[in-house]
């Protein structure tokens, strides 16, 4: 038992750190460090830089052109990127659909789709949720009817994150109405430029459009875009969801944001206030405890000895921490978090934010936005159901 990383792991971390330092555009890091608005271009610019290095698919095995890193290496990569202020990798291509294509797609599909994902050229979206489905994912209604060599798709997806930028979308579609709801679902890749696809952004409570509704109106999809077998899509989707992903805890981002919270507290004059400072101290313990929990999972993955079935705990605690730091940042600024000046959330805004600190501009919006974290990806209520099941049976 040893807390320290091995010399090899330490050297790996240094390599990543140096590379990120040299390659992460400063303007992007500035935005990330201050929660300013990221454009599509910002996100894709960074994706392509990573892609060129071969690290966009940082979780990929070597056989598909990935670096073949183990769990600890992946964690170190994520940590160095996060602490340096890199944007989160948009996961729908490299982290979500790619592993499904690798595991269940045929050779043609792999050759056709993986390169564009690995390079960051093609923007993928996710089409799982539907209106009313919520935590009940198997209630898929979006219909795909086989007609010769094509599927005719009709229906709607929703909560499609960044779908307004999407070029391709992977969807769970209903190909059969027989048997249990889970048995008639297929996994289909759809070109979003196809006639009949409409994307409608949903404005969220912070004024931003981060998610979308995607409508399919008699969309013709070549049957060769079906992954694996018809009606087996639920299995593939579960495979994807069941991946032990410590990144769900987002502890690296939490560490960066804790630093930012302390900066804000100093600027706002509450760093030396016992009451406010105590709240930061509690959060600091939370972050360290979560990090230890993550490291325990990584160690178990690395050694393969003691698997830890605590993904639910990571999701719950990680999301609560995200909400809490965003709340404390807003409260640190207090009345100076109340102005809602949308243009002040753009980097390089030349105006004078009330009170003089433009860093306060996005604080309330971020707090509002973070309420999603206990809802999406399996709400924390669903996660508690799962945890209870493992403990109580």
């Amino acid at each position: 038992m040893d807390l320290a990383f091995t010399p090899e792991e330490q050297a790996f971390r240094e390599e990543i750190r140096a590379w990120v330092k040299n390659n992460l555009p400063a303007d992007i890091a500035h935005k990330v460090h201050n929660a300013l608005r990221l454009s599509r271009d910002d996100m894709q610019r960074w994706a392509k830089i990573l892609g060129k290095k071969g690290w966009l698919g940082y979780g990929w095995p070597k056989q598909f052109g990935g670096p073949g890193w183990n769990a600890v290496q992946k964690h170190l990569f994520e940590e160095e990127c996060a602490l340096a202020g890199a944007p989160r990798i948009v996961p729908f291509g490299p982290v979500m659909v790619a592993p499904v294509i690798m595991a269940f797609g045929n050779k043609e599909q792999q050759e056709r789709f993986l390169p564009g994902i690995a390079s960051g050229e093609v923007w993928w979206s996710q089409g799982y949720s539907e209106p009313g489905s919520g935590s009940d994912l198997a209630s898929v209604k979006c219909r795909a009817e086989r007609q010769g060599n094509t599927y005719l798709v009709n229906g709607q997806k929703t909560w499609t994150t960044l779908g307004q930028y999407g070029e391709w979308i992977f969807c769970l579609v209903r190909t059969s109405l027989e048997g249990k709801p889970q048995t008639g679902i297929s996994f289909l890749l759809i070109d979003m430029k196809s006639p009949g696809v409409t994307v409608r952004p949903i404005k969220l409570l912070d004024g931003e459009c981060e998610v979308n509704e995607v409508f399919f109106d008699n969309v013709v999809v070549p049957a060769e875009n079906l992954i694996g077998e018809e009606n087996k899509g639920w299995t593939y989707a579960k495979h994807l969801l069941s991946h032990e992903r410590t990144n769900i805890a987002d502890v690296n981002r939490a560490k960066r944001e804790l630093e930012r919270l302390k900066r804000i507290a100093k600027t706002e004059g509450v760093w030396d206030d016992t009451r406010f400072r105590d709240e930061i101290a509690k959060l600091e313990v939370d972050v360290v405890a979560l990090e230890m929990l993550v490291l325990r999972v990584l160690s178990a993955e690395k050694s393969g000895k003691n698997s830890l079935d605590i993904a639910g705990l990571l999701k719950i605690k990680g999301s609560e921490i995200q909400q809490r730091y965003s709340e404390l940042m807003m409260l640190a600024a207090g009345p100076y978090s109340l102005p809602f000046i949308e243009e002040a959330m753009e980097a390089g805004w030349q105006g004078d934010f009330p009170g003089g600190s433009w860093a306060n501009a996005p604080l309330a919006s971020t707090y509002f936005n973070m309420r999603k974290t206990t809802i999406y990806g399996g709400s924390n209520e669903v996660q508690r159901n799962i945890v209870a099941q493992t403990v109580l049976g």
Binding site: L204, P335, P339, F340, A364, F368, S379
Partner: protein, 371 residues
């Protein structure tokens, strides 16, 4: 000891409730936000109901009512999440009535009561955070009157108001003044606030001002307490509405084939929301009924009340969004607006941690509703 409302109070409530329901729907509110967060027309409608003169004497054209009536009104405005700052009118008319001399009263109270003049408190300064005794705005004698110089931030409807009640240091003593927005040297820069309403930064450069009182610390604390009592009632209205919306949603929305209102873990969450609402309502009563108490007792009561309200608002707002799930974080659906309103109200007049400090500093050996 009696918490029943009089017939007059019930009529007042019904009149305001009717206006909110018929005159201030979600769509009108949304349009006002889109147009900048403040509607003089809507404010005038409130004035037509007499509400702007609630704290103004009958001689000056007001209703000469008290804190309980203000509570009744503010709760209803909270239900509609009305953006126009009637609470500011209560604060400024209250402080001018209590501390102004006859000339000041005559100059401002009739206009306030009629709605012709919107007067708001401009007290927030950068160095002060929530402290009422930190003030960098300076007042200088200028002939028979005064001029003020300084900057006030996040002043409610600050670029729409007709005048401001402004704390400033006069000969080293915190004093309270009235400054007209149209006066020389007054500049405003307006913006939306997080709740969809409007505020502005107000800069004064040797701006002519009328003295209300040199006992500014007393008057400013009193102003804030009037504001807290009004806010508590408003918050109860918002929370009441928020819980009702959530209950409706839970009885409609289905997951796994049943209404989500059937899940015990969520039911207990609703029970906890109800707890927070009823504690908050109790403390809103308490705040209004203590508003005319001696300053020490009043200050202690307001800190306690705002602490409870802040705690309740945060819980009710966050849980209402959570129980709605995805739709709870959309702009389209009303509950996110309730949540943002509750968030802004928690921060207004000092957040919950600040109030805790006030309660802590004011503790005595015994405690209770009457101590």
């Amino acid at each position: 000891m009696d918490f029943d409302f009089s017939d007059d109070q019930q009529q007042l409530r019904d009149a305001v409730a009717k206006w909110v329901e018929k005159g201030y729907g979600f769509e009108r509110r949304r349009a006002i936000t889109a147009a900048g967060g403040f509607s003089r027309e809507a404010y005038n409608e409130l004035a037509e109901l007499g509400l702007a003169g609630l704290y103004v004497s009958e001689d000056d054209g007001g209703l000469n009512m008290g804190p309980v009536e203000a509570m009744v009104v503010m709760e209803q405005l909270g239900r509609g999440m009305v953006l126009e700052p009637l609470a500011q009118t209560l604060v400024c008319s209250g402080v001018i009535s209590a501390y102004g001399n006859a000339d000041v009263k005559a100059a401002w109270l009739p206009g306030i009561a009629s709605g012709e003049k919107l007067v708001v408190l401009a007290h927030q300064e950068r160095r002060a955070r929530y402290r009422s005794d930190v003030c960098d705005t300076v007042a200088k004698v200028a002939g028979a009157g005064w001029t003020l110089s300084g900057t006030k931030n996040v002043v409610p409807a600050g670029d729409q108001a007709d005048a401001f009640v402004v704390p400033a240091m006069a000969n080293g003593q915190l004093s309270l003044f009235v400054v007209e927005r149209a006066a020389a040297g007054v500049a405003t820069r307006g913006y939306l606030t997080q709740d969809g309403g409007r505020a502005a930064d107000v800069t004064l450069a040797n701006s002519p001002a009328t003295l209300i009182t040199t006992d500014g610390q007393t008057a400013l604390e009193h102003s804030i307490d009037i504001g807290i009592a009004a806010l508590c009632a408003e918050a109860v209205g918002v929370m009441d509405q928020t819980l009702a919306i959530t209950v409706d949603y839970m009885n409609t929305r289905k997951q796994f084939g049943v209404a989500i209102a059937t899940f015990q873990a969520l039911r207990h969450r609703v029970a906890d929301m109800k707890m927070q609402l009823e504690l908050a309502r109790s403390m809103s009563y308490y705040a209004s009924l203590k508003l005319n108490a001696p300053a020490d007792e009043r200050r202690r009561a307001m800190a306690r009340a705002k602490y409870q309200l802040g705690t309740s608002m945060r819980f009710v707002g966050q849980q209402a969004v959570q129980l709605h799930g995805g739709i709870g974080v959309t702009d389209e659906y009303i509950v996110s607006h309730c949540f943002k309103k509750l968030t802004q109200l928690e921060i207004t007049w000092g957040d919950t941690l600040h109030q805790l400090g006030e309660v802590s500093a004011r503790m005595q050996d015994t405690a209770g509703v009457f101590a």
